[in-house]
């Protein structure tokens, strides 16, 4: 038997963090330019164990426990990427990301255009995302809008293990910088079938979670699961047929999918964890209104966190939208 003949991919049930780990392992095995840097990613395998086992397998030079310095991680990842490496940088928690903004806003997305295409930054910046795991302060944030607002970078957030692996492999292979959010609530609670070999899920393509005819819910990240619960309730109690679109990639947005679904149903709920003001939901709402106005049958409903800071965890279930809030918004649209 020829050595080059690929074994058929075995399909196993993995959780989301195992899928992330497998994608990193495959990328490092296939391309020695891929390296990982971040706090506690090496010997400890990451605080969520996303990089578990990789330090042992690929060594201290390619899986690097950095000093505790987020700007150092981000800036040096940019330099490494410009100089031909494929760094996958980890920021340990979403709430620790603001310190890297100087690098992200002023450099990460601008190097390709500033150098008139002579330089590029093929890096991935991974970070856990969102709340509801009873974590301490600054460990439950949803900062995607800040990144989506910044030109030149892509922003990705999977909600299933299959997508997590395929999107992360696509992100690592992508020639441009990708910010890759991982919903920490789903790290262990989301399980699903994942093929063992390499495959990619294309960036910029939404996932149709379920088809429906009365209402479209556009969502991303852990909120996808919440919206599925809301859709069940709406079906049982209101007889409503709900379509759910999981964006998977926030920028570049799969606008065709958004317009096709919202144009079909005419009623829209956009659900996410971040506060609504200046959010990615606001951008989506504007795009749908601008391009689908005459197909809409009700005002667009946005369901997000309140415009206050994320409270400590005793109140987090009242801050991050739950299925009831999605149902309430859906009913407003359905009964308009």
């Amino acid at each position: 038997m020829s050595k080059t003949m690929a074994k058929p991919a075995a399909v196993r049930t993995l959780n989301l963090v195992q899928a992330v780990n497998e994608a990193l392992d495959l990328a490092m095995g296939a391309d020695e330019r891929v390296m990982i840097l971040g706090e506690d990613v090496g010997r400890n395998g990451g605080v969520f164990r996303a990089t578990d086992g990789l330090w042992k397998k690929y060594g201290d030079d390619r899986v690097v426990d950095t000093p505790l310095a987020e700007i150092g991680i981000m800036g040096s990842a940019i330099g490494l990427a410009v100089n031909g490496m494929r760094p996958v940088a980890e920021i340990q928690f979403d709430g620790f990301m603001p310190s890297v903004f100087d690098q992200v806003v002023c450099h990460l997305g601008r190097i390709r255009s500033r150098s008139r295409g002579q330089l590029s930054v093929p890096l991935v910046l991974r970070a856990p995302h969102g709340g509801l795991i009873h974590a301490p302060e600054h460990h439950s944030e949803s900062p995607e809008a800040y990144f989506c607002h910044t030109p030149g970078i892509k922003v990705v957030i999977p909600s299933t293990p299959y997508d997590a692996k395929g999107l992360l492999l696509a992100a690592i292979e992508d020639p441009d910088p990708v910010v890759f959010f991982e919903p920490k609530l789903l790290y262990r609670s989301a399980t699903g079938e994942v093929p063992s070999g390499r495959y990619t899920v294309p960036l910029g393509k939404a996932r149709l979670v379920q088809e429906g005819t009365d209402l479209t819910i556009v969502t991303w990240g852990a909120m996808t699961v919440t919206c599925q619960k809301a859709a069940e309730k709406l079906k049982a109690e209101d007889g409503a047929s709900v379509e759910i679109l999981d964006l998977r990639t926030l920028t570049p947005l799969d606008l065709d999918a958004v317009l096709a679904s919202t144009g079909k149903t005419g009623r829209v709920v956009i659900a996410h964890e971040a506060p609504n003001t200046g959010s990615w939901a606001a951008e989506l709402s504007a795009l749908i209104a601008e391009r689908n106005l005459l197909r809409l049958l009700a005002p667009i409903q946005r369901v997000g966190g309140w415009d206050v800071r994320m409270p400590l965890f005793r109140l987090e279930q009242y801050y991050i939208p739950d299925a009831d809030r999605v149902v309430m918004a859906a009913r407003k649209a359905l009964r308009f």
Partner: protein, 375 residues
Amino acid sequence: MPLKTVATLEVQRLEILSPDGTVDEKLLPKVSNDLLLEMYRLMFQIRAFDERAIMLQRQGRLGTYPMITGQEATQCVPPLLLRKTDWCVPTYRGGGVYFARGMQMRYALLYWAGDDRGTHFPDGNKDMMFSIPVGTHLTQVAGLAWGEKFKGKGGVAVTYCGDGTSSKGDLHEALTFAGQFKLPVIYVIENNGWAISVPRRRQAASQTLAQKAWGYGVKGLQVDGNDALAVYKAMSEAVSRARKGEGPTLLECETYRMSHHTTADDATRYRDAKEVEAWKKRDPIARLKLFLEKRKLWDAKKEKALAAETVKWIDGEIRAYEETPAPNPLNMFADNYDRAPWHLVEQRMELEELLKFKGGAKILMELPPTEGRFP
């Protein structure tokens, strides 16, 4: 032209009380017996509190909790040199600092139980919240000290960070300002050897962290952070310099994180148990106790009485914490602005609608009263 030496660096380390209880009498600071006993009480009680807090977490009665054990001298002693009106900003592991500042520990428990009402400083204290995005407070504390300089009444600001945080740019900028404007500020690096799984030697190639001070015109000193007397002496000199307008000090207190990073961590994955065993011999509480016993200030009877008093005190704090009624969800809208803008007024009503949707029309009457200001 031959090369000239234009600057030299000499880093000193202060240790007064060795682990076997012997004392360098020449270096011994003037401390009253009462103050020595107060140091011991604080350190003893915060260790007992820490052990109980860990048990509460393991029983599901507390959220993720960062352990203090091993760092009692570095945490409990510096506040004893401060006035209530001096600023003091610890790290998230700084329960011992808050305790020594007079905070009721029921609030620390509330905070780590995910309740915003756990941020509650004693009246008249100039305390500030710690920063969980580590080090982001360091420049702010330079600003606090700058404000004290403007007021001209000898007020100082003290803050802490860990060995991990000393790698962040924030410390560079804070020391730059502190040195440049000769601010009355003391930076205590609580070097406990570990930033989660990353050891001190991996944070910086510099031989000490104290020497970072030199680059900014700040006085630096390395201190045995498990030696309460050394911490006292170093801090007392630093505070006195700051009060007199002689400028900032950086103290690197070498101590050790005896436990995991937090209750969510497992240090056995990355740390050699032998290292922990070696540090047990340098325990700050045992060391001070030995000193007190040699001076006839302490004995088994007093220890027993303190232990009994401590259990009673902790029981009371836990009871007060656990009897605190659940917070009203509407509290999160309070104290966001001096005057609440329209969108928060609207969203607060939306949350009321949600609560009614879940619990029926009477639910708002059944909730505990709201707290905080929502004008």
